[in-house]
Symmetry: C2
DNA sequence: GGTGTTGAAGCACGTTCGTGCTAAAAACTA
DNA sequence: TAGTTTTTAGCACGAACGTGCTTCAACACC
């Protein structure tokens, strides 16, 4: 009946425009007019696919969560495939944790967008549900990683959660610094800190 | 000659209003009109003390940096006064690192404001200088703390910087999680993660 | 070929923003 | 009391925002 347009592809294009705007100009600049311009559409067209500005933002938040979670899941599979304590496993772990950091252009955009939405969710209630999903999803993946790296700690749920939260906090802090102070927190510095933290996970799994 | 008003005190009151608005509604809501309302003044009055919106925001950013740095310096003095390896020193260190976290109302407001400005500085060039000052100041304090805790590492500048950046990243990540996911990252969880990290600093200062 | 649904575009309204500018109010001096 | 200067208050303008609503073109089906 109607003009044939792949609606899902269009929505994806619009979301990509949202990502680019957030990464370069910040979330508050991701207005319908700016997004429409960036996507090469009119405001009315964007609103044809997203009923409101809020719906567009929530959908975009969900999209970036899915992208990041997908990458992490794939990397986690590599970790699981490698034999324990091997060099391959170590590299797979480094690769997984590197997914958190803005090490290339694509990762940097995702990291910017992810951070922006999570911080905005503190204020905007519409984003709260996705923010919690984001935290739950990533925490689960990091928890599984910890269980692979030090299975002994899986006995004590308390310890497992603490170790996982510590790794997660460190990764988020590293990502933040890499985004906000790129001159100080270079890729090498990220790598150094990351390896130092992994070392501390191996050598000091528990203690008084 | 004129009406006697303590200009510095007035500016401080306005800045406090800015802090409250940022903490409760976010930085983008800290407009001149909102700030004037919150401070119980007219827009023209606020603009009498701050020539523009940018000037108000930059001044507020500097104010929160000074507050946080002041607290950290005071806590660092306590660490320096305590005898090495003592329980008093351990508690002083915990107290210092606790200054990063939103453990009470005042700390939470400062943490919100601090985070908001640092993230905004990625986009707004007017805030860039203060953001760098913020990073330099806090990194210097954390570096001094590391030198106190493990003087041996002070030999290798590279290692010192890595350890300091790791601690800083972990603290920023913890602060972020405490602000964004307060149900998950409770005060107890913060304390657990913090002590686990301190343990890892002591037991694994260096290695292959 | 006509018809109706859908994609695309745009207008209009009310709100909020920063800011230049004006003017009243207040308080100290002469 | 009259004058001077700081402080306070407010108006007006252009720009940007979200959104309800209308209009037009394009295409698949009867």
């Amino acid at each position: 009946m109607p003009k044939i347009v792949d609606a899902e592809a269009r929505r994806h294009e619009v979301v990509q425009a949202v990502f680019r705007i957030i990464a370069s100009d910040g979330l508050e600049r991701a207005s319908l007019r700016e997004v429409a311009d960036e996507a090469g559409l009119a405001v009315g067209s964007v609103r044809h696919y997203f009923a409101s500005s809020d719906e567009l933002l929530v959908f975009s938040f969900g999209a970036v969560i899915d992208r990041i979670a997908g990458r992490l899941e794939a990397s986690l599979a590599s970790v699981e495939d490698a034999s324990p304590e091997s060099v391959e496993q170590h590299n797979a772990v480094l690769n997984l944790l590197g997914q958190f950091l803005p090490l290339d252009e694509e990762l940097a955009v995702d990291a910017c967008v992810w951070m922006a939405f999570r911080h905005a969710a503190r204020i905007k209630p519409v984003l709260a549900a996705e923010a919690e999903r984001s935290h739950r999803t990533v925490a689960a993946i990091v928890g599984r990683l910890i269980m692979i790296l030090s299975p002994g700690e899986a006995d004590d749920q308390q310890t497992l959660v603490t170790v996982a939260e510590r790794l997660l906090a460190t990764m988020d802090g590293l990502c933040m610094h890499a985004l906000l102070q790129p001159e100080w927190m270079t890729a090498e510095m990220c790598s150094d800190v990351l390896m130092a933290h992994l070392r501390s996970l191996r050598t000091a799994p528990a203690g008084p």
